[in-house]
Symmetry: D2
């Protein structure tokens, strides 16, 4: 299986030491090791909607034990009338949250023309599912000098995903973390937005030296399912979690993006508590 992965000259050829040792290339983001012995939790709002909301949630995430802050300033939205994010203003809010909490910031970039700008504010650049095969963007983040979080497309094979990482690696950037976020199937419509493919983690780790984390928020689409799928992801060998957080049950309905899937800080704390300390 995956015999063509021998073509990944950077990921496979240059790193025989990882394959031999079954070890992982540790990616350091603002002092936090992803791929090391302890799982890492990246948490925060789906979208940066205001300074107040972002700071409140960032502090709550830190208190709950999360190590890195996620939050979208540029939001890829299926429908053009949906909230598209605050853009540069959102980046500045994230920078303020970073200054207040000390947490490194992970945020999405969709446009190769904005990689440089986003890199000024972010500690890690997220490539979203829809962009997994946006090759000009992959090359640009490969040249950015920033660690990259590469989400799997919702219908991508393992090979396509690793090849996307190879595009980044060939630009000289090996600091890539892969993120499983659920696949589209014909059977899950009544119970989950997507099917979180936990089956892929172990095979992926066996062919690729990069860390793998899991986003249980988008796959389930339901906050009450996040804790369970987080535990399952870690049982499968995930190196960390990417979790969306809301202020409280009350504010859920007021959000402009995906409010129903964010966990509360209390729920986040219960997910993080058993993970063995700050990475």
């Amino acid at each position: 299986m995956s015999e063509h992965l021998h073509d990944c000259r950077v990921l496979r050829r240059c790193w025989p030491e990882y394959a031999d040792a079954h070890s992982t290339h540790v990616v350091n983001v603002n002092g936090v090791d992803i791929g090391g012995p302890l799982p890492v939790v990246i948490a925060g709002p789906c979208a940066v909607e205001s300074m107040e909301q972002t700071l409140r949630i960032a502090i709550a995430c830190k208190d709950a034990g999360a190590q890195l802050l996620r939050g979208g300033a540029f939001k890829p939205r299926t429908h053009p009338a949906s909230f598209q994010g605050l853009g540069l203003e959102g980046l500045k809010i994230l920078a303020e949250a970073r200054a207040r909490t000390g947490m490194g910031v992970v945020t999405e970039v969709m446009d190769p023309r904005l990689v440089e700008q986003v890199s000024e504010y972010a500690d890690m650049l997220q490539i979203g599912s829809r962009s997994m095969q946006n090759f000009p963007l992959l090359k640009e983040v490969g040249r950015s000098g920033r660690p990259v979080l590469l989400k799997r497309g919702w219908s991508a094979t393992l090979d396509e995903w690793v090849y996307a990482a190879e595009y980044i690696a060939q630009e000289g950037n090996l600091d890539i973390v892969l993120c499983e976020r659920g696949i589209r199937t014909g059977v899950n419509e009544s119970y989950a937005r997507n099917v979180l493919d936990l089956n892929v983690i172990e095979p992926l780790r066996s062919v690729c030296p990069l860390p793998v984390i899991v986003d249980p928020s988008h796959a389930t689409g339901t906050s009450s399912r996040v804790a369970t799928m987080s535990n399952a992801a870690l049982a499968c060998g995930a190196h960390g979690l990417l979790i969306e957080v809301v202020d409280s049950e009350e504010t859920r309905a007021t959000l402009r993006c995906d409010g129903e899937q964010g966990v509360t800080p209390d729920q986040l704390a219960r997910i993080v508590a058993p993970l063995g300390g700050v990475a």
Copy 2:
């Protein structure tokens, strides 16, 4: 979601106590409770191939801590030239293994005309994935008086699966255990036979009072992946596991059915050990 499940008059209407209590209908198979506080492990060969092979594996499964014995006497095979099982002779071998080990026997029935015969030898009747919507068969096992293990079809929705259980329940047989065994998708071809859908367990438990177990052997198709997916299944709230076992690495290639996915008794013991004792 799943709003039509209110039509399941037996599973939903007659059992408000389960829904209210978020509890599970415990199914007792030869003294072993499925759906109780401890997870149950059902283990054994894919197919009954001989008396010696079956007894050896049955004893090894019992020693490893499994509580029930699985083994196919009637095998549904995609290709007609593949080994179809030993039939009645296989049932007699299973009965002998039961006598020697005391383990209750779980075996598949595909033909409504054979339900009575298989029920004489089996403690639990398995309905395979291909038979999930074989309605005459479902009705017949519903009238058999035997507990039923109902595997999900590899492209079945949650609703279709629960409706299949309702077919059995309407014949007066409420002793049904549901078994997730992997779904067919367009992305898993290079790394797994099917994608084990662990996302379905929690939603399924929220609409249906029946126990849910997971078969990691068929989904992964690879023995080395079974332990990890077993742990993940239990993290998702599965009430048990259905695991295929081979004698040893050496005998794997000699088997007439699915040798590559069976774990060895040692591997089985390592899966069972942390589960907290015999159910």
Copy 3:
């Protein structure tokens, strides 16, 4: 591709003449040739609901140019509370429609115990999608002496489908017609019940000598789409069509099964008219 089909000893090995000649094994049903130069239309109600309804529709189908009558006496229904068909009474109604119109009758059988009874009334036995891998049933219809209409399962590969036909053929019955009826995907939910897989017809015909027809009614789930997909099916080389018919737009809502997808006799006539006369 499909290299394992060499294992189909009856379908591949015994019929080199078909493979060499790229010709098709013609299946004669009550004097109508399926697989010959002219496409065949099998039409009728989804379910036999009464004598009057069935006779009216049968006569209308004949007048519209259909050559064979379809109608379900035993209906496989996802939900046990749905109408399951009239059973034996339905078979007798179909026999009466046959006597009145001279049209051969195609009807589904789901239970191997009923193959003999259904064969007394039907000119062709239909195996439904859910039964495509019901191997005891396939063997029984293989021994029935009746031509068989084998629908593809909604998630079946080409190989699985041909192997299912091989199960029938190995019992000595080569009079098998394959029927494509749509596959389940993750993308069609808003516009079609299933995606009619017209891509499979030509590859299927290149590896298997059996005729292939298409059921546009179940795939589209919408009567207004049936004519278009019928034309497309014939453009792809289908040997015929299986079409559901309702009395009129007015009676659609009163039906107990799938009323929204049946075409009216007028619509049927417009589909049949260009096909070049009675086969």
Copy 4:
């Protein structure tokens, strides 16, 4: 179904005349009407590999009756080691082919930074499947003043596809042609690269006033299947075809991109001949 499409304020709200008249917004590309009474054929090499190859094929396509020339200068390739296209040199070759044959040129753009440059050479900008939800790119081509060919993502729903068109339309560019090119499923692996979803054409046309064409080359992945699926596409109401062409059977294996799916000029001529003249 698709009730949210009422949110497409440009495509739905501003164009009630199309919805009322069940008519199509005709898109003119270099004098060729797409969406008018006659189907349009866009043909050419997968990739522009050299001046000689491109001119030879362009002339052969024109002689065969194709109205527009396709050819890739920037190729999105799953693997970074695959041939990525000749870039600007490829654009210049296409311009030369345009000058020699008079055919308008359709070519893909992947990078928003290159839209202006590609627009200087191309008569129509192609958005590939992987870019269907590349929103910065969609906005950029929406501002380019060039007609756009928007391919469906291989796992995109109808709604997602129309929303992607709406992104372009909201920038003031209504000259958009939609292109179905096959979906990824779990069943087609042995007989087709993807399943051409002809079922979507009629529903799509019922909710959206834009022309729809079909690419049978990528879906089938096999040149011998292209003619059949072309006919089927037109039977379903497609306004045109996008077809890959090779010089000859002999040169197929020498190509750097997708040689096995290109039809020869003779095969192309046989597809085009029955279509009723130049659009």
